[in-house]
């Protein structure tokens, strides 16, 4: 009852917001109409003003025309114009070659100053590259650019998520639907096993480090919730990239090939994502306000068995187990073993009236609000962009949420003709709650407990107490999920402050010195608490425990670059020389407590603190970098870069490494002989080769360490020490040799533009934990051994399908295919185990699924007798496995590679339809060919006759005549399938097609907006994750319990489900 009222409260709030918005729109229209009536009576006016560019440069020769007439003037040398006797209701049209035409309503004003925005044709688009900018026309590397407007999606916390399906060659997956949860970004395939695979993120020139939002829940909770376990649950759950307010982003550049990334040297191999935030434009202050409100619901619920199906299933499973043990299915409970007894009412399923849908209880309609305000403006000398944002997202699982405050100030000051200084300052504060939503049901995972719970029991008994069958020998031994939510807390707080100052000095014409100094400070707090009412596994209760972790991370950077740009006739030269130095310090303090006298205090001080760790881990880097771009007649283009990196992370003999690249481009369309092919507006060929490195390994992998190992003496702990790792003075970075060939083609005045790339990347010196014989005393040592190949194609086709005055339709198709193959490991036959389910071996993709291969279900005794079996007691209805080693027995030696998590291809298809001021965007994306191991299936489709199951288990094998759908074995509560839990029957095709986003927006006509003194106003409605077409049985095919640990992606153990979000919003600028 309480839940329902909560639901309707939220629904009511939602309606209220819509009504408010509609009223606002209505009143603005009425107001606009009213004011136009008033102004009809006014006298002609004389208008003067000045026209400037965004950079504040005055523009001479601008055409200023009274709209609908031929009356006009041209601005003078200082950009000033003056026009007489203008109708106060007229509109002035400002046009200038190379700039976008702008219309401004006179509104009886006498002074109208105008800032014209450059009309950036795609070719003259400026692209941000490492340590500089380049015209897109002159690029020789593979760089994808996405502008801030293109990515913006409402109700989404982080920009990385918004990039999904929008950049060719980049596979982006949202591994968890939790608020602020992890997003994986993989540029051109996985290439490292131990070294990390996330790209380097550079925010306004500051490399903030590799991405990865944590959320690796594979071992969250460990086996117990002891105080030390609580203190060591340090897995981050808040994606650090959510600290960046997406509305602040002007553009994102993704550097994919070595030509582009080698300038980032030892950190470039996984690609580089450069984020550029907005900066002020000179002119009067422009304020922009965005407000959105959304409602989220779980995008896909699992279809579980209902009470009747469940009762029948439980009885079936326990009868089969009793028969297997030698009994009769008709035997009563009192002669059966405890685990094969069946509740009497389950013998007559139709009599069961209770039918609890536990998903109803843990999922909610969750509101998400997002408010962003920014002000920008400035004078000739000083420009500013100041913004603030607040986002509040409740999770679709009750009790979960995420809040973010973010602020930014970007300042530029031109001190003199030669000196310029500036600053980027951004701060954020986020907090979130994640009360044990994921995790195994034995460890009180909320999702898995809810799904496992019997639908035949009520949530509360007649006294209002939560019902659970945890200790019921005939029930499902799980805790009530609502009870868990009340007795477990997982609160996360993080703060970030990134300040980067720069000074630029023009030494002489074309030669510029730039120095930056910046710090990036982040803090994280994890606070966990479990009440004494909650136990684990089969224990109803256990002592209350709490854990707190504080992580403080300080990174400082100094960069100094010298840049020389010069044109000599047809030759143009752009040269860069730089020196950078950076250091990072990670400081973690964790503590845990137990023995709380009461459950009132959830802080450590309430109990006895008896566990903890403090560690400080640092790395430092020093680099020299240089780049030369040379172009002849804008036709022949050459780029050469080299970076030399020194890093603390590597062995004494290999502290420094060199990362070169070379690339060429050829603008064929500039050739005279191409002029006759007038339908080709632009055609460029590109080729590049280079080496980039990956240094995302542990900070001290090259140093032999001694770690503590304890024993007992005289009834006390006796601390000891023993060698833990071997020294390796040879340790060095992983290197990727990258070859890229690409083409940019524009047809019919760029109505069609195509970018295509093919690439081949060979990763060498792979950092591997090389396995050592146990007799050496060391399990493994990190060595540079192994090679991996990634090759693929990328295609981006942009078309303006319809381009009428009133109606436009634009499409953008993105396609990427990557093939991954391991070329070499320590030994030819080595099989590296990435998880209990995945291995890496030569000739196969990294982290291929290595499982017992199920070939079907035994239909009859004859088939059992004539097949290799895993156990003498195998019976019809049991799983049939492939005898891979052909020894006539089914053992764990019969595992084989049965798939891999990497998709054959991923794609995005974005359509924008515009009719006058109305615009409709439809965005689809998809992934084809990857597999996901549905780890939760080991519980929810295990056919064990205990936990509730997915409804598909109702179509299990029941007899030879009723064999079900051929996927699910018979129900049996016994040593089911001989304990082979990791089998191919839990591996599913994770291909999907998703209607990712549908957005309808209406821009107020400029006439009305101007009268409202608004520069612009747009209202919109948006639905994200509208529908996903997939055969995957879990919540979402993209889910990955390993979070940002990409090597273990493709394992789904009840990850937080994805939300479908309905948003309405308003954007205004004035």
């Amino acid at each position: 009852m309480e839940r329902i009222s909560n639901y309707s409260k939220k629904k009511y709030r939602f309606i209220k917001v819509i009504v408010t918005l509609l009223y606002f729109v209505y009143s603005t229209v009425v107001f606009a109409a009213g004011s136009s009536v008033e102004q009809l009576q006014q006298q002609p006016v004389n208008v003067t003003g000045q026209v400037k560019s965004v950079e504040g440069i005055t523009l001479p020769g601008v055409n200023v025309l009274i709209k609908g007439t031929s009356i006009g003037v041209i601005s003078d040398n200082d950009g000033n114009y003056s026009i007489q006797q203008v109708d106060p209701n007229a509109t002035l049209v400002f046009s200038y070659i190379g700039f976008l035409t702008q219309e401004v309503g006179v509104n009886a004003k006498n002074v109208i100053n105008v800032t014209l925005v450059e009309d950036i044709q795609s070719l003259d688009e400026v692209v941000i590259v490492g340590y500089g900018t380049q015209l897109k026309r002159d690029l020789t590397g593979s760089i994808a650019r996405v502008s801030g407007e293109e990515i913006i999606q409402p109700s989404v916390a982080s920009f990385d998520q918004m990039l999904q399906g929008k950049v060719a060659g980049v596979q982006i997956s949202q591994t968890s639907g939790a608020p602020g949860g992890n997003v994986n970004v993989l540029v051109r395939g996985i290439s490292s096993i131990t070294g990390g695979n996330q790209p380097l993120y550079v925010v306004d020139g500051f490399p903030i480090g590799a991405g990865g939002g944590g959320s690796d829940m594979m071992s969250f909770g460990g086996n117990t919730f002891s105080s030390s376990g609580m203190a060591n649950n340090i897995q981050s759950r808040v994606n650090p990239l959510t600290a960046i307010n997406p509305a602040d982003i002007k553009s994102i550049e993704i550097l994919k090939d070595a030509s582009a990334t080698a300038i980032y040297g030892s950190r470039g191999a996984n690609g580089v994502v450069i984020i550029t935030t907005k900066r002020g434009k000179s002119g009067k202050a422009s304020v922009s306000v965005d407000a959105t409100f959304g409602i989220q619901e779980v995008a896909h619920r699992l279809e579980m068995m209902n009470a009747q199906q469940f009762a029948e299933f439980v009885a079936d499973g326990r009868d089969n187990a009793w028969v297997y043990a030698g009994g009769q299915a008709s035997d009563p409970n009192n002669v059966r073993s405890a685990s094969t007894r069946v509740k009497p009412e389950f013998r007559d399923p139709s009599s069961i009236t209770q039918n609890t849908d536990w998903q109803d209880l843990i999922f909610q309609l969750a509101p998400v609000q997002d408010y962003k305000v920014s002000v920008d403006g400035g004078t000739d000398k000083i420009r500013y962009f100041v913004s603030g944002g607040y986002m509040k997202q409740e999770g679709i699982i009750i009790g979960t949420d995420y809040d973010r405050f973010s602020v930014r100030s970007n300042i530029d000051a031109q001190l003199s003709d030669k000196f310029k200084i500036g600053s980027y300052i951004s701060g954020s504060y986020t907090y979130g709650k994640y009360p044990n939503t994921e995790g195994h049901l034995g460890l009180r995972g909320v999702l898995s407990s809810a799904l496992a719970s019997s639908p035949t029991i009520p949530v509360r008994d007649e006294n209002g107490e939560y019902v659970s069958e945890l200790l019921d020998p005939m029930g499902v031994p799980v805790e009530n999920p609502l009870f868990i939510l009340e007795n477990f807390e997982d609160n996360r707080i993080s703060g970030g402050l990134l300040v980067n100052n720069f000074v630029e000095y023009d030494i002489m014409e074309g030669l510029k010195l730039k120095s930056t100094a910046g710090v990036n400070l982040t803090t994280n707090e994890i606070k966990l608490w479990k009440s004494s009412h909650l136990g684990s596994w089969g224990s109803m209760t256990s002592p209350a425990t709490a854990g707190v972790t504080k992580i403080e991370s300080l990174n400082w950077l100094n960069e100094n670059t010298l840049n020389y740009k010069k044109m000599f006739g047809d030759h143009s030269l752009d040269a860069l020389l730089g020196f950078t130095i950076q250091k990072d310090r990670y400081d973690r303090l964790s503590a845990g407590a137990t023995d709380f006298p009461t459950d009132y205090i959830t802080y450590l001080t309430g109990g006895t603190i008896n566990a903890g760790t403090h560690m400080v881990s640092e790395w430092s880097m020093m680099s020299l970098l240089s780049r030369v771009n040379y172009a002849y007649a804008r036709k022949y283009l050459v780029t050469a870069t080299v970076r030399r990196d020194g890093s603390s992370k590597f062995g004494a003999n290999n502290k420094w490494g060199t990362f070169p690249s070379f690339s060429v481009g050829y603008n064929i369309s500039e050739e005279p002989f191409m002029q006759q092919l007038s339908f080709i507006s632009n055609w460029k060929l590109r080729a590049s080769y280079g080496i980039a490195g990956n240094s995302l390994n542990e900070n001290y992998a090259h140093i032999g360490l001694i770690s503590s190992t304890n024993y007992v003496e005289n009834g006390n702990l006796k601390p000891g020490l023993a060698p833990n790792s071997l020294s390796n003075d040879e340790l060095t970075w992983e290197k990727t040799k990258q070859t890229n060939i690409g083409m940019d083609l524009g047809l019919f005045q760029d109505r069609i533009s195509v970018t295509a790339d093919i690439y081949k990347n060979i990763k060498t010196d792979l950092l591997l934990a090389v396995q050592l014989p146990a007799s050496s005393g060391f399990r493994s040592s990190t060595q540079n051994i192994g090679e991996i190949e990634n090759k693929g194609i990328e295609l981006n086709v942009f078309t303006k399908n319809v381009n009428n005055r009133d109606f436009q339709w634009e499409s953008n198709v993105i396609f990427s295919a990557n093939r991954n193959k391991v070329l070499k490991l320590a030994t030819e036959g080595e099989r590296i185990s990435n998880s209990a389910y995945q291995v890496t071996e030569v000739g196969q993709p990294i982290a291929s699924f290595y499982l017992m291969h199920v070939t079907g279900i035994f239909q009859n005794a004859n088939e059992v007798a004539n097949s290799p079996v895993q156990h003498p007691k195998t019976q019809p209805g049991d799983l049939k496995f492939e005898d891979v080693d052909l020894d006539g027995k089914i053992t764990t030696n019969d595992k084989k590679i049965v798939g891999n998590p990497w998709p054959d291809f991923t794609w995005g298809f974005n359509n924008t339809f515009s009719y006058k001021n109305l615009s409709l965007g439809i965005f689809l994306n998809g992934s084809q060919g990857g597999s996901t191991y549905f780890l939760a299936g080991e519980t929810f489709i295990n056919s064990a006759g205990v936990q509730n199951q997915l409804a598909m288990v109702d179509r299990r094998w029941k007899s030879e005549e009723d064999p079900g759908d051929g996927l699910i074995p018979r129900a049996i509560r016994s040593t089911y399938a001989y304990g082979f839990t990791s089998t191919s029957r839990f591996l599913f095709d994770a291909s999907y097609v998703r209607i990712k986003n549908v957005n309808l927006s209406y821009q107020l006509p400029s006439k009305i907006a101007n009268r409202l003194k608004l520069a612009g106003c747009t209202i919109f409605a948006d639905v994200s994750n509208l529908h996903t077409f997939t055969d995957y049985p879990g919540f979402d095919p993209e889910a990955s319990t390993a979070g940002d640990n990409i090597v273990n992606s493709g394992i789904d153990n009840m990850t937080y489900p994805l939300a479908r979000t309905y948003t309405i919003g308003l954007k205004m600028s004035f």
Binding site: A338, S416, N610, N699, I703, L705, L721, F778, R831, T891
Partner: protein
Amino acid sequence: MNNRYNNFNNMRTKILNSTIAFFTIIFSSCSDFLNLQPDYLINEESFYKTTIDFEASVIGPYASLQEATYALLALTELTTDNLTVTLQSPGVSELECDEVRLSSNNDYIHSIWNACYGAISRSNNLLGRLEGASIPDQEKNQYRGEAYFVRGYAYFILVRLFGPVQLVDKAFRSPNEIAASDMSRKPVNEIYEFIIQDLEQAGDLLQGLTMPGKGRASSGAAKALLGKVYLTQKEYEKAGTVLKSVIDSGQYSLVNNYAGLFDKQNDDLPESLFEIKYLSGNVGEGNSFALHFVPTVYGGMALFPGNQLGGGRLSPTMDMANAYENGDVRKNASVSDSVPMSDGSTVRMLYGKKFVDFTASNIADMNNNFTVLRYADVLLMYAEVLNETGKTADAQSYINLVRARAGLTAISGLSKVQVVLALEKERRVEFLYEGHRWFDLVRTGRALSVLNAYFTASGLSYSVEDYETLMPIPQREIDINPALEQNPGY
């Protein structure tokens, strides 16, 4: 205007000067800047200097032995007629042990291998580091003796389980040293020679020094273990000499209360020669035997506080429960078949009581020490020596010492063959849950007949074959080093 220009000129000078100063500082400290050490951890350069450092290092080998106990029980008791799995959905590894059909992927095979070689390599490291160390001789000899003892014990476990194994006697400092060393399997007799050498040295070096408790090696422990090694090799004369010297030392005696050998206060009892220590209190040193020795009974199992459930991986067999003679006090101290429930009822299910603390608030963190060597074992080993060397009557008097403590009547007048069987039975009921059964049956050549008879009598279709008296080498080791041969039959 001029003024303003000057200002900027000044600023330019200032910026340039400070930039130059900055670069000078940076470059001069360049190499230091890139040399970072983990200050919160100890690295090998700064360690192995003082007696305190070595006292900390000698702990390592024992900590490795702690990790071996559970696997040892799975491989030497679950594989026999003593224990079975009652868990509803057991793992493959447990079932393989229970049914004696071990595969090279078995978890317990891996963990015993890793724990034993962990103890060996830590001992090797200690011995190597001690060589040049300038610490007093008395301490040096003590630590060397302890390292020899643990290394000998670990090799003794390995050679009995796997036969020929790798013989490593030095510590490694880099991956290249490992790659360059001989990692092939050495013949059994070579391993035994090595073990005997280690235990003899331990026996000498540890003589006459004050022991810091029975959780650490002692001369008596080294001698008793050496006796066991000789017994296993059927070197009865040598075994007799060394075992008798332990008996005659007068340092050890049988305790009156058999159950007290296994309770949570079983510290340094007079019967104990060497024990592996555990400590409860949430400090990571507790044992979790109860989790394995006790079953899961849903519905409010009241064996432990808080309705804690066991796992049922190592439960006594019915055959085991029936093996005790009437009036044997050891039965009640070792097994029970009645699980109390919180509603006052009981459920009939067998479980083990040794090394289990039924008052523990966290049964994965118990205090009971695990006994590796105790005086009753010395007596029964000596009885075996006597019987094998024709002193059958004397042998029975030693068996009777152990029987008397168990409240049983003396045996007498048995033939040599009858004494063999009496010893087999006596050792079974005396040492349940102490990791002896498999080794005893293999040593006496009785494994196949006893276990196959047990399987047949229990209606189980499993069987033990001759090759299975040696266990498979862990698959991981063969994968790393394909030259390492697998035992025949696997």
